[in-house]
């Protein structure tokens, strides 16, 4: 932990990841421009920029939204999840260029305030086919701005994890606005079946992956656990991989039971940083490591190693033969609990 805030906490993986993002964005823009100019050489540079960056932003947003569910379904996607924040800021920059050029081309050259013009140049709000779709894009851009501008750790710490999370969950509202913005705009200006096809595939991929993940989590939540004198039967030792955990729902709280070095410990499954699923992480250097951003907790007391101060609730386990049992009553956050030896 540093004694001040840095612009970006770089490491070699983040640098490599950012290089991939920038190169991919540049390649997409060049490819989009080349294909557009081959098939429609009369396209103006402003229109080209608007369409290239608009389509780039929506493709990036679709990728951002599928990273979460993909990482829940397959741990190979976790490194991408870990770096998702930079992808989000890059997506906002693409959306901002799209919005900025659109406002300049369509609203800034008259004598009306450009922002006022976005809302009033087309007052056909009761029409579906002629709805002023740019308003939807503008509101979505405001939400994306709020998210990108608060992506620094300063805001996570000072707004509280709860407020920060709520603010960033607004991405789904922004996504809905962008989908409406795209389809209404496409109907009015661009009728290429290819464009509409790509948008539709993106939307259904995002929606179906979220549904699959929700069903998977609902299965964990609805799992009935057998009770025995106040203790709940969890699973056998062999059902948990070494240095990994299994997640169970105990009294409506998700709990992760970890197996490491011949010991078993149970902690609350929710990371204090951004609510990441600790049970989907693994033990690294003796600490439970959150799969989302690498926050760490000691398995025996749920405390982050000093100088960090995060704490999660702990639970007592007992063994009967090979079977693990859990006491459903959680201890206070950071309470030391003797690990179960096997």
């Amino acid at each position: 932990m540093g004694l001040d805030y840095q612009l970006v906490l770089w490491n070699k993986y983040k640098k490599a990841y950012d290089k991939i993002i920038i190169i991919s964005m540049l390649l997409y823009i060049i490819l989009f421009a080349a294909i557009t100019l081959i098939f429609n050489s009369e396209t103006t540079i402003e229109t080209l920029v608007i369409r290239a960056f608009g389509s780039l932003a929506i493709i990036m947003l679709n990728i951002i939204l599928i990273i979460g569910p993909l990482a829940r379904l397959n741990s190979n996607f976790l490194p991408i999840l870990y770096n998702r924040r930079h992808l989000g800021v890059s997506m906002f920059i693409a959306a901002f260029i799209h919005g900025g050029f659109s406002i300049f081309q369509f609203h800034a050259l008259g004598d009306v305030n450009p922002i006022y013009s976005i809302f009033t140049s087309n007052m056909d709000y009761n029409s579906l086919t002629n709805f002023p779709f740019q308003v939807l894009g503008f509101i979505a851009l405001l939400i994306l701005f709020a998210m990108a501008s608060t992506s620094h750790d300063f805001f996570l710490g000072n707004l509280s994890a709860k407020v920060w999370k709520r603010l960033h969950m607004m991405v789904y509202f922004a996504y809905a606005l962008i989908i409406a913005h795209m389809f209404l705009g496409a109907f009015q200006q661009e009728t290429s079946p290819l464009t509409i096809g790509i948008m539709t595939i993106g939307f259904f991929t995002v929606a179906s992956l979220h549904l699959i993940t929700a069903f998977k989590e609902q299965k964990i939540d609805s799992m009935k656990m057998e009770e025995q004198e106040g203790w709940l039967k969890v699973c056998t030792i062999s059902e948990i991989e070494e240095d990994r955990a299994k997640i169970f729902t105990v009294k409506n709280q998700r709990v992760a039971v970890f197996k490491y070095n011949g010991k078993l410990s149970a902690i609350h499954n929710v990371c204090k940083h951004q609510g990441g699923p600790l049970g989907e992480g693994k033990i690294i250097d003796g600490c439970i490591t959150c799969p989302w951003h690498g926050y760490q907790y000691l398995p025996s007391n749920g405390q982050s190693p000093p100088p960090f101060t995060e704490k999660v609730a702990t639970y007592q386990l007992k063994l009967e033969g090979d079977m693990i049992y859990i006491n459903p009553e959680a201890f206070d956050e950071g309470t030391e609990v003797e690990p179960c030896n096997y």
Partner: protein
């Protein structure tokens, strides 16, 4: 409809103007009262944080007031 648009844009403008004014005070004075890490934070980082402060000023004002309450 035009009335609704005018009210919405007025609220939006007022929100961002207050945010802009608060942003300068907060980043160069107030922030270190609620976050000790801000004391040694460089000016370029403060400018990076500026847009986010403009957006979230109601929450940060709340935190500033809470920090002054004994």
């Amino acid at each position: 409809m035009e009335i609704i648009i005018n009210i919405f844009l007025l609220i939006l403008s007022v929100y961002f103007i207050i945010g802009l004014l608060f942003g300068f005070y907060f980043l160069f004075r107030g922030a270190s009262k609620i976050d000790p890490l801000m004391e040694n934070t460089k000016t370029k980082v403060r400018f990076l944080l500026f847009p986010g402060v403009v957006v979230t000023w109601p929450f940060l004002i709340g935190r500033l007031f809470k920090s002054k309450t004994p």
